[in-house]
């Protein structure tokens, strides 16, 4: 008997130990690995206690002893969470009446994706970038799949950056009338496709010109030399010319003057002596006048040359003062300037022009000279003829 008692006692100890071990290991398991169940916010979500139908009473816990949200437990032991909100998310565990863990589920709540609001940028003829905004905040991770096709041709993949919600198509077939971009958003609760029809030629908009510099022209207090670079994203040059638009004004004035040069640099001749000027440049595809102008480049400042003998000490900064002139508003001028001749750069061309002018003058002069000589000769001959005729007349026959 004592042996039996001792054996039953030891069995109890083993059972207790194994139960407690099982319980602790189950606790670790629920915290580390569990099934994930997704549910839709504002609806009823049912969590089953394992796969098999359990008839015994079960107890549900949320995380570590948190109070369960509004719920009911069905006869088969499933937990039904009613009209769930975000606070109902967490790790749910069900136990039998002995405290044994039966099942554990991680609940995540959200909405299925809705339609997307898509917009596309075309910074050059080799790139289309489309970005989107969600119309529904899903609260769940979403994957995107995007592709582009033109005029019913084959779909071309659009490479997705899911974090920043955009995709890129490199080397699209640009010269097609209409393109369709299709973006499918998928999460655990469903998926939604959004199609956008786009006209690439209407969306073409270069990036702003870069490295804009405004320099004085030595010896000229009314001139400014403005130079810039093509936008670096506009890589193809020869067959893709750009036209530029410059606007400038004395700092503090509200009226801009404008020029439309074809290439950099350009010299403006009507800068206001002694005053800092603001300058901005933008670009547009030269061939398609209906494509879009780029945004303006950031403001750049420059001051025309000042004679060191007459000028006051230069200001180190550009004060934010109101333009001190109360004169009539300066009219905004719109001129198309060819690149201005630079003193050193185009010296050869000037020499060539001078030479050409000399040759033209020489030709004209020589023509006059030849005509004059011929006239003289004719007069001379006529005179001689007359003299001889008179002589002949006076001769006695």
């Amino acid at each position: 008997m004592p042996g039996l008692l001792s054996s039953s006692g030891s069995l109890t100890v083993i059972w207790f130990l194994s139960w407690s071990l099982c319980r602790s290991s189950a606790q670790i398991w629920t915290n580390e690995v569990s099934d994930v169940q997704y549910g839709r916010l504002d609806s009823n979500v049912t969590l089953a206690c394992g796969k098999s139908q359990i008839k015994i009473p079960v107890v549900w816990h949320l995380d570590d002893s948190q109070v369960l949200p509004w719920h009911k437990v069905t006869s088969d032991g499933s937990l039904v969470l009613l009209h769930v909100n975000l606070s109902a998310q967490g790790n749910y565990s069900c136990y039998d009446n002995h405290g044994l863990l039966l099942h554990s589920i991680k609940l995540r709540l959200g909405y299925p994706p809705g339609l997307l609001s898509i917009s596309c940028q075309v910074p050059n003829h080799t790139l289309v970038r489309c970005s989107w905004k969600e119309s529904v905040k899903t609260f769940l991770p979403v994957e995107y799949n995007a592709s582009l096709r033109g005029n019913g041709k084959a779909w071309q993949p659009c490479l997705v950056d899911a974090a920043h919600k955009y995709c890129d198509v490199e080397h699209p077939s640009f010269w097609q009338t209409i393109h369709t971009l299709n973006v499918t958003a998928t999460n655990a609760l469903g998926s939604e496709s959004t199609a956008a029809r786009i006209k690439l030629d209407k969306l073409l908009k270069p990036d702003p010109p870069e490295s804009v510099l405004v320099n004085e022209v030595e010896g000229f207090p009314n001139r400014l030399n403005i130079s810039w670079n093509f936008p670096s994203s506009w890589a193809l040059r020869d067959a893709f010319p750009l036209v530029f638009h410059i606007r400038y004004r004395p700092h503090g004035s509200q009226y801009w003057s404008e020029v439309y040069p074809e290439e950099s640099p350009v010299v403006i001749f009507d800068a206001l002596a002694g005053h800092p000027h603001q300058v901005q440049v933008r670009a547009r595809d030269e061939l398609d006048a209906e494509s879009q102008w780029s945004d303006w480049s950031p403001l750049r400042y420059g001051r025309p040359w000042e004679d060191p003998a007459t000028s006051e000490p230069p200001e180190d900064h550009f004060p934010d003062y109101v333009f001190p002139f109360n004169t009539k508003p300066e009219t905004s001028t719109s001129k198309s300037l060819k690149p201005v001749l630079q003193d050193d750069g185009n010296l050869g061309l000037v020499i060539l022009l001078v030479l050409f002018a000399v040759v033209i003058i020489a030709t004209v002069l020589s023509l006059f000279f030849v005509v004059w000589v011929k006239q003289r000769r004719r007069e001379h001959v006529t005179k001689q003829e007359l003299t001889s005729m008179v002589k002949m007349k006076s001769m006695p026959i």
């Binding site: 041709k153 010269w175 209409i178 067959a239 893709f240 061939l287 209906e290 020589s366």
Partner: protein
Amino acid sequence: PSLLLLDSSSSLLFSLLLAQLPVFTSASPVPPRRTGDMDRLSNQTKSLMKLTQELLREHAFESDVEPHRFRSLPEMSNRSANDLNNLELKPTLSQLHADLKLYEHHFEWLNRVSKKHHHPALPKLVEVIKEMKSLINLLHRQMQRVDAPKLTPATPSLPPHLPYQFDVLQSSQELLHHFKLFCDWAIRAFISLKPKITPAQ
């Protein structure tokens, strides 16, 4: 004797001037007449594109309908920006010529249909066709100069019947937009081909 001297000096001056002329004319390594041909082609295409854009603007209406009426317009899906760097002179000129002939057929069809429906864009449409013919002739002359073969133009497949003015409007929008993009590509092609015209051609 003095007269004789004057005569000879003036003719010497003329000879000198005449001798200088080629120096000025051959300042660039490529004879200007040949590259000028390419400039003329791209300028003519530019004015055609401008005219097309005016027509599109004047009779614009918002249409997001996928184009479907014209099945035989020149294929633009295989033309990419990077290809412009690798264009070959003769095949490109031949292809552009064949494409233009195809557009000519489509525009003449549109002109006939527009006449029936008294479409207000008619005078400008006639002008587009006139400019197009002029470009085709210019291009043909250039092809003859470089011995580019003339391709057999594809047979146009035109919409059979347009019962309503709306159909005409939609068709003209589709055709004009297609042609505007073709002009855009063609101008860039002519610019890219310009350095490929050699003096021998």
